[in-house]
């Protein structure tokens, strides 16, 4: 397999993991919104309510930075990273 194909395979793998986490916190948990709201979440808010005001939103922020770092590692591994800083 060429270097480029390997790079793309790893990139696709990372995409799948990222989208899986995204799916859980944007769609998955809200299938059980009513049940989850009975539980007390962080800072004492009802759990589903907390996810809609802070939880899911914050997880998305962290997820994007995590994704960006992992993708940079993959690019470096195959020598595809760009020169210069950001």
């Amino acid at each position: 397999m060429s270097k480029q194909a390997q790079h793309w395979e790893k990139t696709r793998g990372l995409l799948m993991v990222t989208l899986a986490i995204w799916f859980v916190f944007s769609i998955g948990i809200f299938l059980f919104g009513a049940e989850m709201n009975e539980v007390t979440g962080p800072f004492g808010y009802p759990l589903t309510y907390w996810f809609t005001c802070q939880g899911s939103l914050g997880i998305f922020v962290i997820l994007i930075f995590w994704f960006a770092n992992r993708q940079e590692k993959i690019d470096e591994e195959f020598g595809f990273s760009e020169r210069g800083d950001d």
């Binding site: 059980f32 009513a34 809609t52 990273s81 760009e82």
Partner: protein, 604 residues
């Protein structure tokens, strides 16, 4: 100041700017104590901030295509994040979001999840690849990836439909705020708003818009967070509201149970002025079905990833890697405001309905409420209304009505904050609406001038002529938007959500599959864009005219139907027609690798 090593000095420049703005707020506060009138303070806030944006817009003037279309591709990640956040957060986010949460609770908060979750799709599926492509506009990507003028033209049409739906709402919002703050009639205020918007973008294009949007973000975030923290502390709810309002949230639930949600008769509701609503839904309980919540969130997420005015912000970063990080920063800056909106809604609601608080009005006599100063002001502004439906002389929960905007606009006054805060909030709302309108008008004008005029009509045009055309279009589109806004056809929020649905119907799959599916070809993309847009729009028209809809897809989520049609038609048509030629396939391979030259040249 703006030339040479301006980029290296950014933290310093905006640091001084932020300090100056804070000093201005303090000066206004002192002036208020010395007897400056509320009206004069409002005018000062709006006029001062708009003047600053206009100066930045003038200093950023340019005669180069690269600077005009993509700000010279040298905007650092953090600053591009701020600019995107301002570009993103519209007048609706600023003025109406807390109100939506206040009235509709959980069902509305799907928008919070949708408008943030979409950025995960932007970062992972699209932004870095479109940056590598080196395009100036979104149709530039479609036109080059799939080839041919028809695909480019289709992308321009979808972009124009979606963005134009959105921009009228923003110009409307600038008009509303300008008319309140400057005390002039709305029909004129709309054009005052428009001229302020054009001052930022006309001379500098994307470069001017970038640096004004950063300035606007700073104003709008201060204007949103300062009152929230202040009110929370004044009420004794906690010095950091985001982590400390659990007691307040459960107190609201307790009061809701105590008062009950009494349903008003249709006859009684006729008395209530149009646009005002009462509290009829639980604050923190789950009050929507899973599908209602998920379908709205999903539509907003896919719409986010297809809206061209957001995507084009990531064309301005210096590298592909910077584009990815920049999406993270954008969402961080958006998160600061979005996570505060539910807190403001909570504080606002509790301060009004809790009889044990001095500001609480439920349980007081109607005559007493009607004699409160702030009630009289906001009643006059048509944003508050009480009526004694059951004739017992006391105000019940179902007898109190408020406009959605009042949550942001009136809460500082109800909580007893000085008027200077209300002036600050007006400046923040103006910044939010202006920055979004600027991004949208520029997105439309750039697509028309670059893709329609330069790429399709006159490919030999010189740079100077192209930029003249771009600026003329900017003014024409701005005036068209303002004229429609002045007619006040659709409420602010409805049309914002439609824009997301239009964008996702026509553009989501052609963009995503353009990168992720090599087999996608021109015929498929054209079918996907055309059929997606037509079926989405058709569904909207059908439901608006009394159609029952299916699968619980409403007029707010019609993009789910449109994009499904788009996906199916794009895949089917791609598979029954010839696969893309070798050059196109090689181009897709190159897009997937971050290093190396961009597909399109530096000046194209």
């Amino acid at each position: 100041m703006i030339k040479g090593n301006f980029i290296d000095n950014l933290p310093k420049v905006y640091g001084i700017y932020t300090g100056g703005f804070l000093a201005f707020i303090i000066i206004m506060a002192i002036a208020e104590q010395m007897g400056m009138s509320a009206k004069a303070i409002g005018i000062c806030f709006v006029a001062f901030t708009v003047a600053i944006y206009a100066i930045i817009g003038y200093l950023s003037r340019t005669a180069q295509a690269d600077a005009y279309y993509v700000a010279g591709r040298q905007v650092p990640t953090v600053f591009n994040g701020m600019a995107t956040a301002a570009d993103w957060m519209s007048g609706a986010s600023f003025v109406a979001m807390a109100g939506g949460i206040y009235f509709k609770g959980y069902g509305y908060m799907a928008l919070l999840v949708g408008w943030t979750g979409g950025y995960v799709l932007v970062a992972s599926l699209l932004a870095p690849y479109l940056r590598k492509f080196g395009c100036y506009t979104v149709p530039d990507f479609i036109g080059t990836r799939y080839g041919g003028n028809l695909s480019r033209l289709m992308a321009v049409i979808v972009l124009t439909v979606a963005s134009f739906t959105y921009v009228t709402a923003q110009i409307n919002a600038t008009g509303t705020i300008a008319s309140v703050a400057l005390d002039i009639p709305f029909q004129y205020a709309v054009y005052v708003g428009l001229i302020s918007i054009l001052l930022c973008s006309m001379l500098g294009g994307m470069r001017g818009v970038t640096w004004t949007q950063v300035a606007q973000y700073i104003v709008l975030i201060i204007a949103y967070l300062l009152p929230v923290f202040w009110i929370s502390n004044k009420m004794g709810a906690g010095f950091f509201p985001h982590f400390m309002l659990a007691d307040e949230v459960s107190r609201i639930a307790e009061l809701e149970a105590q008062f009950g949600f009494v349903k008003n008769s249709a006859e009684n509701l006729k008395e209530v002025p149009k646009g005002l609503a009462g509290i009829t839904k639980a604050h923190s309980a789950v009050n929507a079905t899973p599908w209602a919540f998920i379908s709205l969130a999903l539509a907003m997420m896919m719409g986010t990833a297809s809206l061209p005015h957001v995507m084009m912000r990531y064309f301005t970063t210096p590298s592909v890697k910077a584009a990815r990080k920049s999406v993270g920063w954008s969402l961080f800056f958006i998160f600061l405001l979005y996570s505060s909106a539910p807190m403001l809604a909570t504080l606002s609601k509790l301060s009004l309905i809790d009889p044990s608080l001095p500001t609480g009005i439920i349980g007081k006599s109607i005559a007493e409420v009607q004699s409160i100063d702030w009630y009289q002001n906001w009643n006059q502004a048509n944003l508050m209304f009480v009526s004694d439906f059951n004739g017992n002389g006391t105000l019940e929960l179902n007898e109190f009505f408020m406009g959605g905007k009042a949550v942001v606009l009136a809460t500082p006054e109800i909580a007893g904050l000085p008027y200077v805060i209300s002036g600050l909030v007006a400046a923040g709302g103006m910044a939010a609406a202006m920055s979004t309108a600027d991004g949208l008008i520029l997105a439309i004008a750039n697509a028309l001038s670059h893709d329609l005029y330069y790429k399709i009509i006159d490919p030999k045009a010189e740079t100077a002529k192209r930029l003249v055309v771009a600026r003329v279009l900017l003014v024409v589109i701005g005036f068209a938007g303002a004229t429609i806004a002045a007619m006040e056809i659709q409420g602010i929020l409805g049309s914002v959500i439609w824009a997301f649905d239009f964008a996702m119907s026509g553009l989501f799959f052609p963009l995503v599959l353009g990168v992720w599916w090599k087999r996608a070809n021109r015929e498929g993309a054209i079918a996907g864009m055309a059929l997606g847009l037509i079926s989405g729009a058709g569904y909207l028209i059908w439901v608006r005219n009394g159609g029952s809809g299916f699968l619980g897809i409403t007029q707010l989520t019609f993009g789910i139907f449109g994009s499904a049609v788009s996906l199916v038609s794009m895949v089917v048509v791609s598979l029954i027609t010839a696969e893309p030629n070798a050059a196109t396939q090689k181009m897709v391979d190159e897009v997937r690798v971050p290093s190396g030259k961009s597909i399109l040249g530096k000046q194209h």
